[in-house]
């Protein structure tokens, strides 16, 4: 009995600290969940479709989840997007056209066709045209499918991903 009364006494002493600690932990968890759902994310990305820019064997990408909601998407940005043909898959492509732009569907073909991108859609294409299933196959993709804008490659080698269009020689010196 003496042991239990001692334990009770100790519990009463640490109660304010324990309550503060629990509240602090809860606040931290909530803040973390909010950041993960709405602000930033890290995702692995495999496949040959973005080859000169990203490795085919996989890169870890750091992306933000608010740029596309605020309309901060430019031609040349790399974005993550839910696949139109499989809602469980995420694809990583480059934005090559915004609403109102006219885009060549496939300039390599002899008979090429231009289409105008309807409002609320974007034209996505992989950097490796030979091994990419993208807007040339799906058509313009609704902006509602966008998940985020890639800001950096974290692993295996860190590099910042700049938005917008750049000259190829500046980004990848030959």
């Amino acid at each position: 009995m003496a042991y239990f009364s001692l334990l009770k006494e100790q519990l009463r002493q640490i109660r304010p600290q324990a309550a503060r600690f629990a509240l602090f932990t809860l606040e931290g968890c909530l803040l973390g969940l909010f950041l993960k759902e709405h602000i930033v994310g890290v995702a692995p990305c495999y496949g040959p479709s973005m080859l000169p820019t990203l490795h085919a064997t996989g890169d870890y990408l750091l992306f933000d989840r608010f740029s596309h909601r605020l309309g901060n998407i430019q031609t040349g940005d790399i974005v993550l997007c839910t696949s139109p043909s499989d809602p469980g898959k995420v694809i990583c492509k480059r934005v090559l056209g915004l609403p109102g732009d006219s885009v060549d569907i496939d300039p390599r073909r002899a008979t090429t066709k231009k289409i105008k991108i309807p409002p609320g859609h974007v034209w996505l294409q992989g950097d490796n045209m030979a091994h990419s299933v993208d807007s040339r196959f799906h058509g313009p993709i609704p902006m509602g499918l966008l998940q985020g804008k890639v800001r950096a490659v974290l692993f295996p080698s860190f590099k910042l991903v700049q938005g917008g269009l750049q000259k190829i020689g500046e980004v990848y010196p030959v």
Binding site: L31, L33, F34, P84, M143
Partner: protein, 174 residues
């Protein structure tokens, strides 16, 4: 006594997580417009808006014919629509012949449309006041956010939202 700077810092840091927690615990939304009459917003005066419970935890592959869903409009990523799923991947759908649909010309009879992999065909129950797949065609299932399961307000409407295709539309699903 004025609140301390520590209080303001904490309040600023915790407002977004609190909003996030609130939105996850109470997934309710208001329905605008008359495209889902007579099931949602049955009043013809359009002064009241129904409050519905939306199930955001459903996987995109679990949707069935007749489910009422919340989806991002393909032509505007900031607009949420409430429609009923009429067709799922692999179905053949005859577009509604009475509402002039760009899916078929004005003179030629409507021809069946194949719903490709990962897409669905959505329509409002009130075909004459609805912007739906008859206008924009099959949409990716990735745009579907959740299933509208219950009407919560007004109390006269309270109850589950049944998932079945209206009988006059069934013969258009081939």
């Amino acid at each position: 006594m004025a609140p301390s700077p520590v209080f303001w810092r904490r309040a600023l840091l915790l407002t977004p997580p609190a909003a996030y927690l609130f939105a996850s615990l109470f997934p309710f939304g208001r329905v605008d417009g008359r495209s889902m009459q007579p099931h949602l917003n049955p009043n013809t005066n359009q002064l009241t808006r129904d409050v519905v419970f939306v199930n955001y935890w459903k996987r995109p592959t679990d949707y069935q014919h007749g489910d009422v869903v919340n989806l991002i409009a393909p032509h505007n990523p900031h607009l949420l629509l409430t429609k009923r799923i009429i067709g799922l991947p692999g179905d053949l759908i005859l577009p509604n012949p009475s509402t002039g649909s760009p899916m078929h010309g004005p003179s030629d009879p409507p021809h069946p449309i194949f719903i490709p992999k990962g897409h669905c065909w959505v329509e409002g129950d009130e075909s004459f006041h609805s912007t739906d797949s008859n206008q924009f065609g099959p949409i990716p299932l990735g745009l579907v956010q959740g299933q509208v399961q219950y009407v919560v307000w007004p109390p006269a409407n309270f109850g589950p939202v049944r998932s079945d295709i209206p009988p006059w539309k069934r013969k258009r699903v081939l």
